[in-house]
Amino acid sequence: MSKGVISNNIRRLRFDAGEMTQKDLAEKVGASRQTIVAIEAGKYAPSLQLAFEIAVAFGVPIQDVFSFEPS
């Protein structure tokens, strides 16, 4: 089974949201700052629930935050 690559625009969305800090985003979605760091760096793929919560925190649809590229 191919795994594919999940990429994200969290860094840009944080910038667009007035340089929202990773800590602020973490508090909004109920995760630790380290988890946000890992997601942003593409090291950790969040659950669907957390992915939706991140999208809601930025007020954008989920596809504007995450994209999937099948390998």
């Binding site: 800590k23 973490a26 109920g30 995760a31 630790s32 700052r33 380290q34 988890t35 760091v37 890992a38 760096a41 090291k43 950790y44 793929a45 969040p46 659950s47 629930q49 957390l50």
Partner: protein, 166 residues
Amino acid sequence: MFAKTYSTSQIVDIGRIMTFLEINNIVQTLRALVFAAIYVVWARGVSSAGRFDGPEGLVLLGKGILVLIGATVVAGIVLHVIGMIVTIVAGQESKPGEMDERDRLIDQKSFEHGITCCGLGLLAAVIALWYGWGAIWGFHLILAGFTAADVLASALKFRAYLRGSP
């Protein structure tokens, strides 16, 4: 000569860099290793004195293990509280004991490997009994399995936190 001492501010710096869960993981691993070393020293002393021989040996071993479990639990709680104080003083943003989905996933995966290690210890104990090594050795092997499981699970957790993913 090689001992390095840390000032209070350096300990606070460690608390800023690492989360409570990461610090606690390292400290609890050290606790497991220290108690394993204490057990080995105690068991070797008792064994060389011939006090494990006969039916009284199992009674002594049972008492020794119970005391060790009690001391391990108390040490674990004390270290947990110290870790909480360090992270609070350091102003760490993640609250002590708070876990998110990544922490839970890391915990679960390392626990699965730890359980395998426990199972191997039990299997080794059964094989030892089969070869007539005696019940004392069976218990030693079971405890070795538990300790190895504890250390392995902690090492895997540490690696996962370094990588950022489970």
